[in-house]
């Protein structure tokens, strides 16, 4: 491992400003929400208008993947709260002697 950290605030790479500088504005997150909603809704509308495939199961209904993507992603992320509480242990959990084991 090479420790070559420099003090915070110094040494920003010029390419970084060029590539990612536009993300640093105050309203970036709000704009991102709007852009994602616009892209997603446009894709749903276009699918309704252009799709010629017959509906043979719920997965074929226009807009199903938009709905499913939102719910699945949200569900997976929110499951992290209870799962984290249930499954997370201290970092040295496996290195310490097991207190629940009888002598």
């Amino acid at each position: 491992m090479s420790q070559k950290d420099e003090p915070a605030g110094n040494g920003e790479h010029p390419v970084s400003v060029l590539l990612y500088g536009w993300m640093r504005g105050a309203g970036f997150q709000k704009k991102l929400v709007l852009v994602l909603m616009a892209i997603g809704l446009a894709a749903v509308v276009l699918e309704v208008l252009l799709s010629s495939k017959p509906v043979r199961d719920p997965g074929s209904i226009p807009g199903f993947q938009a709905f499913f993507g939102f719910i699945a992603f949200g569900g997976a992320v929110l499951s992290g709260w209870p799962l984290g509480r249930f499954l997370r242990r201290r970092e040295d959990y496996y290195e310490r002697p097991d207190r629940n084991t009888p002598p």
């Binding site: 970084s16 991102l32 929400v33 993507g69």
Partner: protein, 594 residues
């Protein structure tokens, strides 16, 4: 040696042998140029040999050892795409490793790559087993290479799984060969459209053991934790090397032996889903990638289980694309580890300011694995999704794969780049990765984009080329297909932004996440100790009755095997020679009588 002779050797030698030959010189390579020539030259020689192969679907090299015919080289369209991916990955790993000289890592990485390439081009079960074991042994040194107590312990656990996999495979092969008398893939069973794919019947003797051996290496559910245990404890280069070969070799072997086996559909579907939940709460980003690897291999296993031409094409294409983008993601995290000493999300953030190129390559890997149209994951995973959606009986499986696709976007598409390079500013300002690392990442990123923009290039090499061409012409770029994928990704990304803004995204926290390995690291010892009390009480009367006999046996054992026991004493050389001859004579007499 004439040019014709060299051309003949190139055309009829397993490409993996060239990498193994280069590996033999690695411990003695001193200068950077010689190392570079060997680490990149070996795989390139293998590629040249593969391109010049004397034909597909015929035995190009056969050796007879102890009366067993070993088909050392039999390339076909299934092995071609896996071998191609392995050799490109080996060359990229070589470039990525040039910044540091560690003969142990360099040599074991090349032996590992050479063995994996050899494995996909052999034409029988015995040769596959030999190469399989060589990959296991060589890969352990990748885990050991960090030389920390944690990595040594992880390497031992890793070795246990690899040895268990090899033993099951060997036992299965022995049973199968004894019952059928055949080990060559081309002669075991009827083929799928002219290709020896899915050649084994699960009801054949030993087939279940072979499946279990392959399943351990593919990290099937409940035997998957060796992957998350070992990969994050390797060096920055070790994880890249490991991510490319082991599990994909298992996918290849599953396709070769068990394509069309229904069990694999559900095993694969479960594999795609459960890692999503673990990846959400995992703090170590290389461990997140290990869960992601599990999830992606699930897509391939599921496709192998479906077993149609489209599905087998999907498994092969996904394996190729996955090797590139997963190596790219592991390389970007390796660069972060190399520069900062950590890959914990809690300790990272804001690295894009000083590592912009690494960030860019990581984003390309993230876009590819998330299957964004025009990136490699889209053109590969689409075939698996289409193959599952085409069968109305697999609707639930398709839903599981769709859920997993949203999950992939969460853990690999967003979590990895966001928490390492953006997110909260950790205040760290490390230097950009060394040039060789950037070059390797650039090559892998270029391949991800090339395959995404021009999938015909990859589809040409798939096992069933005609089916791939038809899919490319009639389904891949249809409006509804592209729009559906855009919907899934846009709304899943929207969910992330909304949850993050409202502080509903679970915060990263340090800690160990309990997984299946808890069972043997904590559960089994607890169970055995609880059992030892009642078991001791049950045995006590027997022990009292048999006390005298047990004491006698103990005395004999100590007299023979203790440090100053009978077998430890020094004997005159002549006595040793005479006893050795006597044993040899007895063996010979037994052999003659038999």
């Amino acid at each position: 040696m004439t040019i014709e002779r060299i051309a003949d050797i190139l055309a009829n030698t397993n490409p993996g042998f060239f990498i193994l030959a280069a590996a033999m010189f690695m411990p003695f390579a001193r200068g950077h140029v010689v190392r570079a020539l060997l680490m990149v030259g070996g795989p390139v020689m293998g590629l040249v040999a593969l391109i010049n192969a004397d034909g597909l679907g015929i035995d190009l090299s056969v050796a007879t050892v102890f009366g067993i015919d070993l088909v050392l080289y039999r390339p076909d369209s299934l092995s071609f795409v896996f071998g191609l991916a392995f050799m490109i990955a080996a060359a990229i790993c070589g470039v990525y490793s040039l910044h540091r000289r560690d003969p142990l890592q360099d040599t074991s990485a090349m032996v590992y790559a050479g063995a994996a390439v050899s494995a996909v081009f052999v034409g029988d079960l015995v040769s596959l087993f030999i190469a399989w074991e060589l990959t296991a042994v060589a890969s352990v040194f990748q885990v050991l290479a960090r030389r920390s107590p944690e990595s040594v312990r992880a390497a031992v656990r890793y070795l246990v799984f690899q040895v268990l996999s090899g033993m099951l495979l060997l036992a299965g092969i022995c049973m199968f060969a004894a019952a059928t008398g055949e080990t060559r893939f081309a002669f075991i069973a009827p083929t799928l459209a002219g290709l020896p794919v899915g050649v084994m019947n699960i009801e054949a003797p030993g087939a279940v053991l072979i499946l279990a051996g392959l399943g351990i290496k593919a990290a099937f559910p409940m035997v998957h934790s060796w992957l998350q245990d070992a990969y994050p404890r390797t060096t920055e280069t070790g994880a890249v090397v490991l991510s490319a070969f082991t599990t994909k070799l298992a996918v290849y072997a599953l396709a070769r032996c068990f394509a069309g086996l229904d069990w694999l559909i559900w095993i694969g579907a479960v594999m795609t889903v459960f890692p999503v939940f673990f990846a959400v709460i995992e703090n170590d980003l290389r461990k997140v990638l290990a869960y992601s690897l599990n999830n992606q291999v699930g897509f391939m296993v599921c496709a192998v289980g479906i077993g149609t031409q489209l599905a087998v094409n999907g498994a092969a294409a996904h394996a190729f694309a996955h090797i590139m983008y997963k190596a790219l993601l592991f390389m970007s995290m390796g660069a972060v580890l190399y520069r900062t000493g950590t890959t914990r999300a809690t300790d990272l953030g804001g690295l894009h300011r000083t590592m912009p190129w690494t960030t860019l390559f990581c984003l390309i890997g993230a876009a590819s694995i998330s299957a964004i149209p025009l990136f490699s994951g889209f053109v590969a995973k689409s075939m698996v999704m289409s193959a599952s959606h085409a069968d109305p009986g697999l609707f639930m499986v398709w839903i599981m794969l769709l859920f997993a696709s949203a999950g992939v976007l969460e853990h690999s598409g967003i979590k990895i780049p966001f928490f390492a390079f953006f997110g909260h500013d950790s205040g760290r300002r490390p230097q950009e990765a060394p040039f060789n690392m950037l070059l390797a990442m650039g090559i892998a990123a270029g391949l991800c984009i090339l395959v995404g923009l021009s999938p015909g290039w990859l589809y040409r090499f798939l096992p069933y080329e005609q089916a791939a061409r038809e899919y490319l012409a009639s389904e891949l770029w249809t409006v509804s297909h592209v729009l559906q994928q855009v919907q899934l990704l846009a709304f899943a990304a929207l969910a992330f932004v909304l949850l993050y803004r409202r502080r509903l995204y679970p915060p990263e926290r340090p800690g160990v996440i309990l997984d299946a390995d808890w069972l043997w690291r904590r559960g089994c010892p607890r169970f055995l100790r609880h059992l030892s009390g009642p078991a001791g009480a049950l045995i006590a009367p027997v022990r009292r009755q048999a006390g005298g006999a047990l004491t006698g046996i103990g005395w004999v054992g100590r007299s023979v095997f203790s440090a100053d026991g009978w077998v430890s004493r020094k004997f005159p050389l002549s006595a040793t020679a005479i006893s050795s001859l006597a044993i040899l004579g007895l063996v010979l007499i037994a052999a003659v009588l038999a």
